[in-house]
C-alpha cells in the first residue's frame, strides 16, 4: 500500500497542477505534496524489514492475457533510491522558489509526475511496468528542458530525447525477448524474467541491448555525448532531476536486470565494461579540468563519477556493490547541490563563465561555506558522504585488481584538481564587476543549503544505517550471480 | 422449402468473391472520380461480406454473419463521412477529381 501511495500521491497532485495550468504561485502546494511524499519515503525506510527481499509488496492483475501484473515492491536498493528521490524533489522545488515567476503550475506538475515515474521505476516488480515507468520518466523531463531550457533548447532536448528513447527501445526488445522465453504461459514478472536461462550467444544479445539502454542513461563512455549539452541547457531544476535521480535509473537497471539476467555474460564481459567505465572516468575528469563554464564542468565531473560507479558494479564483490549503491545516493545529493550552486551563481550574475567570476567568498561567506562543503563532498573528503562510497568502491575495485583501483584512484586527484580550480577561480580573488554585489544566501536558499550540508556530513559520519539497508539486497545480487553461474 | 437448398462448393464463392474484389481494386485504381472510387470500395466490401456469409454457413458459425453486419455499419459510417468530405472538397474546388486530394498531404 505504501509503494502505491508513493506513486499515486505525486501523480494525482501533478494532474491537479496540470488542470490548474497557467496559475502561478502554486509552488507551495507542490512543495507540500513533495514533503508529504518525503514523509512517506522516510516511513518506508524506517519500517524497512531487512529480513525480507521485497518489502511493501503491492500486486494486482493488470493485463492478464499477457501475464502483466501491476506489482510493486522494494528491495534494499530500491528503498534507498526512493529515499533519494523523495528527499531531492522537495529540495529541488525549493530551489525554484526564489520570487521569480518563471515557473507555472505545469512546471511543478511535471516535476511531481517525474517523481511518480521515478518511484515507479525503482519499485516495479514487473518488467513491463518497469518499462512503462521508465518511459514515463522521460516525458516530463523532456518538457521541463524543452519549455524552460536555455539557448538552443529544442535541438538539444530532442537529441537527448531520441538518444535515450533509442536505448529504451533496445531495452524493450530485450525484455520481450526474455518474456518470450519465460515458461509456458508467459509473464513479465521480473523474477520470472531473471530466471530465464538463455544460451550464451543469445545472452550476449540481451546483455548488449540492455547495456546500451542503461549505458545511455547513466551515461557510460561513449554514449555520453547528450549529457553535457543537456545539463547546460536544462533549467537548474531539470539538471538536478537528470543528474541527481534520473541517471540512477540506469545504474539501478544494471543492478536489477542486467547483472542477474545475464550474469554469465556480465562476468565474461566485465573487463570490457570496466575499460569503458574507467575510460569515461578519466576522460571526464581530464576534460573537466579545462572547462570554462560551471555547469559544463559539473556535467563532466558527474560523468566521471558515474563511470566509477559503473566500474565498481562490475567488480562484483560486496564492498564494491555496497559502495556503488551508497555512492548513487551520495552523488545524487552532491550533484544536486552543485547544480544549486551553479543556479545561484547564474541567477545573481547572469553568467556561468568561470572567468567572469571571483571574490564571491568575500561578499557572500555563507554561500562560500556551502559551496566549500559541497565541493568537499564531491571530491570525497573523509567524513563527507562522497568518501564512504568512493572508499568502498575502490576497495572493491582493488579486490578485483589493484591496478584498476590505482587507475581509478587517479580520478580522486583529478577531481581535486578541477573542483579546487573552479572553487578558487569563482570564490577567491578579488570581486569582479559581476560578483561585486553578490548577495549572500537568502532565507529560502538556506532552507535548501542547510539540509544538504547536514546530509553531506551526516552521511559521511554515520553511514552504517544506509549501508545495512542495502546489504541484504547486495548480497542477494551476488547470490543470484553465484547460483546462476 | 429452405431446407432443400443445396449448397454450392465453397471454392465457387471464393472465385466469385476474388473476381468481384479484383474488379473493385481495378475500379479504385482506374478512376479519378472520387464518387466512383467510393463505389468500388463498396464493391470490395461486399465481396468480402459475401465470402464471410458463405464461410459462416459452411462452418456453421454465426460469427461470420455478425461480422458482416458490423462491416455494413462501418461501411455506412465511412460513406457518411467520406461523402461529406467529398462535398466539402467539391465546394472548394468545384470538382471531385481524386488528384485534387493531393492537397490533403499538407
Amino acid at each position: 500500500m505504501l509503494t502505491i501511495s508513493l506513486i499515486l500521491l505525486p501523480l494525482i497532485a501533478s494532474l491537479i497542477l496540470f488542470a490548474l495550468n497557467g496559475r502561478k504561485e502554486l509552488h507551495y502546494w507542490a512543495l507540500g505534496v513533495s514533503i508529504a511524499e518525503l514523509a512517506l519515503g522516510v516511513a518506508a525506510v524506517v519500517g524497512f524489514d531487512k529480513g525480507i527481499a521485497l518489502n511493501y509488496l503491492f500486486d494486482m492483475p493488470w493485463i492478464t492475457s499477457m501475464g502483466i501484473r501491476f506489482s510493486l515492491g522494494m528491495s534494499g536498493i530500491s528503498v534507498l533510491l526512493v529515499l533519494l528521490t523523495v528527499a531531492l524533489v522537495p529540495l529541488i522545488i525549493l530551489t525554484t522558489v526564489n520570487g521569480s515567476t518563471k515557473y507555472s503550475a505545469t512546471f511543478y506538475g511535471l516535476i511531481l509526475l517525474m517523481q511518480s515515474a521515478l518511484v515507479g521505476v525503482f519499485t516495479s516488480s514487473d518488467g513491463f511496468l518497469f518499462y512503462i515507468f521508465w518511459e514515463m520518466a522521460l516525458i516530463p523531463i523532456y518538457f521541463i528542458c524543452g519549455l524552460w531550457g536555455g539557448e538552443n533548447k529544442i535541438k538539444i532536448t530532442i537529441k537527448f530525447f531520441i538518444y535515450t528513447m533509442f536505448g529504451s527501445l533496445l531495452m524493450l526488445a530485450a525484455l520481450i525477448w526474455l518474456y518470450l522465453h519465460t515458461p509456458l504461459s508467459h509473464n513479465f514478472n521480473i523474477d520470472a524474467l531473471l530466471a530465464v536461462q538463455l544460451p550464451f550467444n543469445e545472452q550476449v544479445l540481451v546483455f548488449v541491448a540492455l547495456f546500451i539502454a542503461f549505458a545511455i542513461k547513466i551515461p557510460v563512455f561513449p554514449f555520453h555525448s547528450w549529457q553535457p549539452n543537456t545539463y547546460v541547457v536544462a533549467p537548474s531544476a531539470g539538471s538536478m532531476l537528470l543528474a541527481g535521480i534520473m541517471l540512477k535509473m540506469g545504474l539501478y537497471g544494471i543492478l536489477r536486470f542486467l547483472i542477474p539476467s545475464c550474469s554469465e555474460v556480465a562476468l565474461q564481459y566485465a573487463p570490457v565494461v570496466m575499460v569503458l567505465a574507467i575510460t569515461g572516468l578519466l576522460y571526464g575528469s581530464i576534460i573537466a579540468i579545462r572547462q570554462k563554464e560551471i555547469k559544463r564542468l559539473i556535467a563532466y565531473s558527474s560523468f566521471a563519477h558515474v563511470g566509477l560507479i559503473t566500474a565498481a558494479i562490475f567488480a562484483f564483490n560486496a564492498d564494491a556493490l555496497q559502495g556503488s549503491v551508497y555512492q548513487m545516493i551520495a552523488h545524487g545529493f552532491n550533484v544536486m547541490a552543485l547544480f544549486f550552486v551553479a543556479d545561484i551563481i547564474q541567477r545573481r550574475t547572469n553568467t556561468l563563465q568561470i572567468s567572469d567570476l571571483g571574490g564571491i567568498a568575500k561578499v557572500a561567506p555563507k554561500f562560500a561555506i556551502f559551496f566549500m562543503i559541497v565541493m568537499l563532498g564531491s571530491v570525497a573528503l573523509p567524513l563527507t558522504n562522497g568518501f564512504i562510497g568512493e572508499f568502498l568502491m575502490l576497495v572493491g575495485l582493488a579486490k578485483y585488481s589493484i591496478s584498476v583501483a590505482a587507475i581509478a584512484g587517479v580520478s580522486i586527484v583529478l577531481g581535486a584538481v578541477y573542483m579546487f580550480w573552479m572553487y578558487q577561480r569563482s570564490m577567491y580573488g578579488n570581486p569582479t564587476t559581476a560578483t561585486a554585489n553578490f548577495p549572500d544566501l537568502t532565507c529560502n536558499e538556506m532552507w535548501v543549503a542547510i539540509p544538504l550540508i547536514i546530509i553531506i556530513i551526516a552521511m559521511g559520519v554515520y553511514p552504517k544505517p544506509l549501508l545495512e539497508i542495502a546489504k541484504p539486497a547486495v548480497e542477494n545480487i551476488l547470490l543470484v550471480m553465484s547460483t546462476k553461474y | 422449402m429452405v431446407d432443400t437448398i443445396q449448397l454450392m462448393p465453397i471454392s465457387y464463392y471464393l472465385s466469385l468473391c476474388s473476381l468481384l474484389f479484383a474488379i473493385g481494386v481495378v475500379g479504385v485504381l482506374i478512376k479519378r472520380n472520387a464518387l466512383v472510387i467510393f463505389m468500388s470500395i463498396e464493391l470490395m466490401l461486399n465481396s468480402i461480406n459475401l465470402l464471410l456469409a458463405a464461410f459462416s454457413v459452411y462452418h456453421n458459425n454465426a460469427a461470420g454473419q455478425i461480422l458482416v453486419i458490423f462491416i455494413m455499419v462501418v461501411a455506412a459510417a465511412e460513406v457518411a463521412a467520406g461523402l461529406s468530405i467529398l462535398v466539402v472538397t467539391y465546394r472548394k474546388n468545384n470538382s471531385i477529381d481524386m488528384n485534387l486530394l493531393n492537397q490533403l498531404k499538407g
Binding site: - | I5, M8, I23, V26, N49, A62, Q65, I66, A76, V79
Partner: protein, 176 residues
C-alpha cells in the same frame, strides 16, 4: 436448380460490377452498383442468410446508394466528359488488379477445404442472428452504435464547417 440460380446471380453480379467501371456517367455506375447489390442479396438468400439479405438491401441499396445518388444530384456531377486517367495509368491499374486476382486465386486454390460439412441452414435466420448478436456480441454492437453516432456527428461537422467559413466571409464582406 440452385446451381443455375447461383451462376445467374454470379454472372449478373460480375457483369454489373464491370459496368460500374465501364459506364462513363456516374449515375449509370450507381445504378449498376445497385443491380450488383441485388445480385449479392440473391446470393445471401441462396445461402439461407435471409436476415443478411434483407439488411443488405435496406442498408446498401436503400441507404448508402441513395446517399450516393443524393450527393450526385446535389453536386450535379453527372458530366460525361470527366477527366480520365492516362492510358498508361489505366493499363497499369488493370495489370495490377489482374495480378491481384491471379495471386488471390492461386493463394486460395491451395486451401484444402472440405465441402462435406453438413450445413445447418438455420444459422442465418433472424432469430438465430439476433440471439448471437445480443448474447455474445453485445459490447461490440454498442460500440458500433457509438461509432455510427460519431460518424454522423463527424459528417455533420465536416459539412457544417464550410457554412461557418461562409459566415465569416459574409461578415468580412460586411465589415468592408
Amino acid at each position: 436448380m440452385e446451381k443455375y440460380i447461383f451462376f445467374f446471380l454470379s454472372g449478373l453480379a460480375v457483369f454489373s460490377a464491370l459496368m460500374v467501371l465501364i459506364s462513363r456517367k456516374p449515375v449509370h455506375s450507381v445504378l449498376y452498383l445497385i443491380l450488383c447489390f441485388f445480385a449479392i442479396a440473391g446470393h445471401y438468400i441462396l445461402l439461407n442468410a435471409q436476415f443478411l439479405a434483407v439488411v443488405h438491401i435496406i442498408v446498401y441499396a436503400g441507404a448508402i446508394m441513395v446517399l450516393f445518388l443524393f450527393t450526385l444530384m446535389m453536386l450535379n456531377l453527372n458530366i460525361v466528359g470527366e477527366v480520365r486517367k492516362s492510358v498508361l495509368a489505366r493499363v497499369a491499374a488493370v495489370i495490377a488488379g489482374g495480378l491481384l486476382l491471379v495471386t488471390l486465386v492461386a493463394a486460395l486454390k491451395g486451401l484444402n477445404l472440405s465441402t462435406s460439412l453438413s450445413a445447418n441452414t438455420q444459422i442465418g435466420m433472424t432469430s438465430n442472428i439476433g440471439k448471437v448478436l445480443f448474447n455474445e456480441y453485445m459490447f461490440p454492437f454498442e460500440a458500433a452504435s457509438i461509432l455510427f453516432l460519431s460518424a454522423m456527428v463527424g459528417a455533420v461537422m465536416i459539412g457544417k464547417k464550410e457554412e461557418e467559413e461562409e459566415m465569416t466571409n459574409v461578415q468580412m464582406t460586411n465589415d468592408k
